[in-house]
Symmetry: C2
Subunit: 669 residues, 2 copies
């Protein structure tokens, strides 16, 4: 942040910010000590040579991107071993939580790393699915990087529907081995990160067969490459799946088996077991596996809000230095952030990032608590946790991705340049909509639970999940109340109204002769809308509760701006959902107009703090990696500096001129 002069407009913005930026940073970090620890780690790691590119990744070929990405990943892993030694003393999950605000990897492998799956899914699979002996053995090897692993579940022809997986693991009692086999092309594993050319081990999910009988999907630890030569083992067909919208340094791969044999003890046997003689011992409680799924979804929510915070930082700073057009005749060109339409695009992005920031932490705590219950054999809160995690994964991925794209578009043409980092942020963020439970599929699961609860309430059950209690509210519709609590209650009426309408439609379709499944399917557009409305209540209420709980501990200026952002979020969504509120509450036309004016007022209130608010996210320039968003606001200079790094710009005349263009222009091609 030192060196060159900071843009005047940014200096002015920072001067007029009326709260303590550092206080907000500390709040986001969960305390001063954590801010300090994060910054020290960033400083140490980012001063290591070789972690930054001379030629930006985007100029490289697909193959070079992988090679360079792997090189930097390994340097980074080494650096973390040096500078984050304490992490070895903490549990895997403690480390995850402690690093919720860490975006260091983004400074090194913007398009994510070929070891991503090793560091996350492979480790979790060992910890959650291995028995004690297996955990001990494999997690040591994995932690020390003696082996590099990945996790293979999805197949070319199978994603959402786990039961549909085709890969077979057939137990051979004679040799006490499992025979792994891919019977068709659609059975090939497809997508695992690092699978292409990086991993030599892999946890493979496959259909277990013993003596001709199917025992469902089980996890197997499979060696796929020779530890010495890295050559694929006999019968293993492995490679990469090609370029993608993002994740191009991740080395996503495919994997097929031609009757590959592995010893019996390579089945991960924490849950189910296969004895030597082929006896199958079922899992004592299959629900244990849900824990890991919830965990991954909380991590997604946290990532989503960090991606959005980066995009917002870029767009807000750029909007403060970009001057364009005229608001008033003969006045100088205004900062584009002074256009209310621009504030409309950007300020909600700050609120939204806060909303999911606090939601992710709240959900993590709930997950930790529920996990402890699970270990004690208590499962009653698991369904609620599962539905909460589904709902928040869907909404955070969808909202944050949409707002990242809004941020990019708000930067006009320059946002389209890779050097802005906005396209790559969109690429990694939009993937969260699809992976770890495709959003539409998850919404249908949430809807299933809502309809089930609705039925239970009709049947007089009183113990429903806390987050669905509102479905049983039988009090008459109150008059419109524009307080935040009033708006929250109104959104509950909306969700209830939508569940009720969906159920009516299903009933009506059944009466017309459709089967229960066809009636459900025909009403599913409504069901998804009901599930979304339910999910919206959760963010609204958690965001509100978390801010209000903290407000009294904060200095007054900071509390004020955080409450303004909360209010903005409420009004924004009330205006977005006017149709629902008009249908299911007593909102009137006049109320809508009042909300609109309140929205216009609150934009104006937050506007002077916009740059301070994004500064408080405290992303170092190396992490933002953006020509438009750097702390000093030298956007135009950086755009030119980055362009000059292009290998095409190293020569005044490209070879294609003599080769193709000149002959063509002379009519001689």
């Amino acid at each position: 942040m030192a060196g060159k002069k900071v843009n005047e407009d940014l200096l002015n913005e920072r001067a007029k910010c009326n709260f303590d930026v550092e206080e907000l940073t500390n709040l986001l970090d969960d305390g001063v000590e954590h801010t300090k620890r994060r910054r020290t780690l960033e400083q140490n790691i980012l001063s290591i040579e070789g972690l930054q590119d001379d030629i930006p990744e985007e100029y490289l070929s697909h193959k070079e991107k992988y090679e360079n990405g792997l090189r930097k990943t390994l340097l980074m892993c080494k650096a973390l071993q040096t500078y984050d030694k304490e992490s070895a003393g903490r549990s895997f999950q403690e480390n995850i939580r402690l690093n919720f605000r860490n975006s260091l990897w983004s400074a090194v492998t913007k398009d994510t790393s070929p070891l991503l799956l090793h560091l996350e899914m492979f480790m979790i699979a060992i910890l959650e699915q291995g028995n004690e002996e297996q955990r001990e053995y494999w997690s040591k090897k994995a932690t020390n990087f003696e082996i590099i692993g990945t996790y293979a579940q999805t197949e070319l022809g199978h994603g959402t529907f786990i039961r549909g997986l085709e890969t077979q693991a057939t137990y051979d009692v004679g040799t006490e081995e499992f025979v792994l086999h891919s019977p068709t092309i659609t059975a090939y594993k497809w997508w695992p990160g690092g699978m292409g050319h990086t991993a030599n081990y892999c946890v493979v999910m496959a259909q277990l067969y013993i003596k001709g009988k199917n025992y469902g999907i089980q996890p197997f630890m499979v060696q796929i490459r020779d530890e010495e030569t890295h050559m694929p083992l006999p019968g293993v067909k492995v490679g990469e799946i090609g370029p993608k919208l993002g994740f191009n340094t991740v080395n996503n791969g495919f994997l097929g088996f031609d009757n590959v044999r592995i010893p019996r003890d390579r089945m991960l046997m924490k849950n189910a077991q296969v004895l030597k003689d082929g006896t199958y011992k079922a899992s004592p409680n299959s629900k244990l596996a849900y824990g890991a799924m919830v965990y991954v979804r909380v991590v997604i929510i946290n990532s989503a809000c960090k991606y959005l915070a980066r995009a917002t930082t870029i767009a807000v700073r750029y909007s403060a230095i970009r001057r364009q057009s005229q608001l008033k005749p003969n006045a100088p060109e205004p900062q584009i952030i002074d256009y209310v339409t621009q504030q409309h695009k950007l300020l909600i992005a700050i609120s939204t990032s806060h909303a999911y920031h606090f939601t992710a932490r709240w959900l993590w705590d709930l997950y930790t608590k529920t996990n402890q219950e699970l270990r004690r054999g208590e499962f009653k809160n698991l369904p609620e946790l599962h539905i909460l995690a589904c709902s928040m994964k869907v909404l955070s991925s969808a909202d944050c991705t949409a707002l990242i794209e809004k941020c990019r578009l708000a930067c006009g043409g320059h946002g389209y340049l890779m050097s802005s980092s906005l396209p790559i942020l969109y690429g990694v963020s939009t993937a969260t909509v699809t992976y770890e439970g495709e959003n539409t599929v998850l919404l249908l699961q949430v809807a299933r639970s809502l309809v089930k609860t609705w039925d239970q309430i009709l049947k007089g059950h009183i113990s429903v999940s806390p987050s669905m209690v509102y479905l049983g509210n039988r009090t008459p519709l109150p008059k419109w109340d524009s307080s935040l609590q009033g708006i929250l209650e109104s959104f509950k009426r909306v969700a209830k109204g939508k569940v009720s309408a969906s159920v009516s439609s299903i009933d009506q379709y059944r009466k017309s002769g459709l089967s229960p499944e066809d009636a459900w399917n025909k009403a599913s557009v409504q069901l998804i809308s009901a599930a979304e409305a339910h999910a919206r209540i959760i963010v609204l209420s958690v965001y509100k509760a978390e801010i209000e709980r903290r407000a009294s501990t904060l200095s007054s200026p900071l509390a004020t701006v955080l409450l303004e952002l909360l209010e903005l979020y409420y009004i924004y969504w009330a205006l977005e959902k006017t149709g629902d509120l008009l249908l299911y509450t007593k909102l009137s036309e006049k109320d809508v107009r009042d909300l609109q004016h309140r929205y216009e007022d609150i934009l104006e209130k937050i506007r002077p703090n916009a740059v301070g608010l994004v500064d408080a996210f405290d992303f170092r320039d190396e992490i933002l990696s953006s020509t438009l968003g750097a702390y000093d606001g030298r956007a135009y200079e950086r755009l030119m500096e980055e362009a000059l790094k292009s290998p095409l710009n190293k020569e005044p005349v490209n070879q294609s001129f003599e080769k193709y263009l000149k002959p063509f222009m002379r009519g001689k091609l």
Copy 2:
């Protein structure tokens, strides 16, 4: 389309299609003869060797992408000279219109071509801004490719606001030359396609100065590279601007001048002139330039609907062959297109592509008519045409881009692969939201016109633009009418209500003491929403009129399915805009439920024709260039075939293993 076996599910879909696919193709092509002509051209061009890549572009480095893209572009230009000889006998604009359905370039340079700006903007600039002598001289050179040109308007610091451009062209009476100069870094031209290393000439928009006085923005023909060596001329700083979200084979560049001198006759003088002695002669009518702007926007609308048609073809065919999950217990996995949520995502995309297909043609005809009037000196219809083109550019770019992304997401993980072609379609389509008038900026122009008309009506003026007559409707609100005509009238009430509410807000803000400009700005979120509502009326009415006009000339099954798609479009948008309709019409809660059920019924009606409808777009596999969307439905086989083209997959072990990974795993990196 021959050779390998076609997927069974697709065969079934085609068998159950109940209209004549060829009849629809002919309709979209404007007649049997045009279908024939298009197919012959496609067949001729696509059989030329060297136009298809052995290694897909996505694997190449940025530099290689350019070199390969240029090579193919030149081959393509040569091929067109051979196989489209008649085009020489037609006007530039006749050729554009005749090729509205041509997507051949997409088969060759998916990410568009470095000659894009030469073929479009450079030619138009010469034709629209050169005087007769200049047109004769330069257009001959450009048509024969003796020179390669581009068009430079946007600068690093200036886009939307043309008057803010900084590049200077100062007339030197002594030498009868213009001196071109870039006084700052923000004055550098930035973005022109082909500017980087391809073009040797360029039309530059610059501030004209004569004897210290500024005469506004004028066009200059500037040579930037030596015709023999291609070296940048002295004082010319030129290069490329680096990788982007899309358009990576376009060679977008920057251009700066250090006092570069050009002869006086290099100013394009159709409109304004500078005489030898420095006398400035103003343009007889500056409005003439609007024609070209309208033309470009109509072309964008047509491109948007073609991009969407491609994405829809891919997603619908893939959804017909992809089987996943279970709708009913113990039943086989259904085609995912049988999920109503999937139909909800995809069928509106077919309707929308049709809507803009017909709108683009309608607007072209209006443009042609208005252009004839302009040449006769009649300008009265120009403002209306301008606002129509703005409105439709905004809505088509926004709607089609959003739906392309919906199509991509509807294909799950595989849609994220470049080999699906969906990411690249998004990349090129989303650019249309920003270029040629950024959408928010254009909406504010539309709003300006709406508010002006509103004021005129209040003042008793009766001759308002035909598309805004509804603003003066003083009849009482009728009861809800769910016919298409009724819905259209309701949408007019919505737009009128929104204009009225915006104007009230502006008045209210003015009364509270804000300046007119600040009041306008503060209400601008509402103004944009009003402008969007106005634009929606136009698509709704044009789509309806164009389908109904044609329906009687079509066979009954085709007319039926086209009317179903039209109805789908109406119901979809009524449901999307429930809030507006509840506010501004007599729509009731029951009416909303009826619309919802009608929507669910119409999805079911269209479903069996979905594949037939996308087949009728008649994209050859080379144009679609998609593993997921090919005519034969061999999606999984193609995914694997494409992945195996990866240079990374040519070696079982990548060099990075010995270089980095092995030492790292042994603790020796």
